[in-house]
Symmetry: D2
Subunit: 147 residues, 4 copies
């Protein structure tokens, strides 16, 4: 976890549960996405404006570890941060808690895509400084080549 | 229900259930959509190709009556047809059954939108003949003005 | 619309959009549900506790009119109220706005089910007073027999 | 990938797309689940019957690598198999293809839960033989202790 992180509190929605009586595991990826949206806004660029400016931040990988189920009626806190940032890729980290209990944690990896060409590209220039700061890096890491 | 109709059999997905132990009511709209896709294909134009050609068939209204819950493990049959077709709008009808039991029925209303302008427009010309035939109409109805 | 109503502000989630670039029409039913949850809490019984006490408030019908699309980046306000309440059924009403624009409105109808028998039943006694007040009724309406 | 595997062909649903014009990354977990359901059926126990008999096969971890987007109009083939099986845990593997193109691959890890106690438990006895055969193991692996 990094020093700069972002907390979003979400009320569990009934539609997010399944017949096991807990939140369906795919919903956690949606929660991660809500938190990621918030981190981009904190970096000075709401993700909606990133797309309008011609880029997509495409998900290239995810991993989640589920420790305990969230339930309808719970308010969960999604904490997210930037794990690392490379010129063409980056990783976010996440923890989901209900009060002090860790319910799940995970990561999402991303690549940048230029909407006009549909091809991988470099991160929008103005995002480099804030994301480097969030990731506690002084320069872009070398992981850019991984998808 | 009209003579020309289309049946799609769907296995209930676990993710479609909620903690009541039955399929969440919003999932039925997704099933209606799967059936509608099939009807468009039967009219000679898969909906994906309708969009690629520059139109959207936008949902302007829905109604659903839920009679009995579908459950994980069920295979449901979604029957759909064209209720009526106007120059700028149309309505589809649906029934969802498990064997002989009617689980739900409903309708979706739609308007055509031109992607280049973002405005309402007339139905693509080549769809008029098949949709009129499906709706058992000899001419376009006057309901085009409703959203 | 009734005097007693409840507003919930929701940030549109990326996962709620579809390739039309607007929120998928099924997501509105999920938003209605979030608002309904809030109204039940205002009536003194969070819906989670209603279920734990042995009842389900099952959706028996919905209708939605879609006027304009919600988009990722929008914050929408879901306003809900109790339209009418009968001994065994009730209806909620909803409007969804982005600032002053009405994006959609609709209704959901419900019946009460006793979890122990799986059969329709009367509303939990302690909810009658607050729901009657919300609906501006002095007594339960006669609509109880509709599903 | 193991010799025993199961293929499920799925038509992409419109609701599964997002405004990037491709299938939302969370939908792949739902597709994995559809495939897993089929593998359980091939092991002689449809998952619905496993739950009715008092067990849950809870997801404890997932990882997915996304290589190329699936699109509305595509039919994707989800191939799944049993990676390994332990006394109290197991892992499934998945690949998603459109024709010869690999779109995504991943894994889900699971633990068994006894519905009556809500606690982790051993795999239902009658599933051991078929799952061992699917996993090409002669005995249960030692990974049972991982969540």
């Amino acid at each position: 976890m990094k020093t700069h992180r972002c907390d979003v509190d979400l009320e569990v929605r009934y539609a997010e549960t399944d017949q096991m009586g807990v939140v369906h595991h795919a919903a956690y990826l949606v929660w991660f996405e809500v938190a990621r949206t918030r981190l981009c806004a904190q970096a000075g660029r709401p993700y909606a404006s990133i797309e309008r400016a011609g880029h997509f931040l495409v998900v290239s990988g995810v991993d989640v570890t589920y420790r305990e189920g969230a339930r309808y009626g719970d308010v969960v806190r999604v904490t997210s941060w930037v794990d690392w940032v490379a010129s063409r890729a980056m990783q976010f980290g996440y923890q989901i808690r209900r009060d002090a209990r860790l319910l799940a944690d995970g990561h999402t990896r991303h690549v940048w895509v230029d909407q006009s060409t549909g091809r991988h590209c470099r991160m929008p220039a103005d995002l480099a400084a804030p994301f480097l700061a969030f990731a506690e890096q002084t320069e872009l890491s070398r992981r850019g080549r991984e998808r």
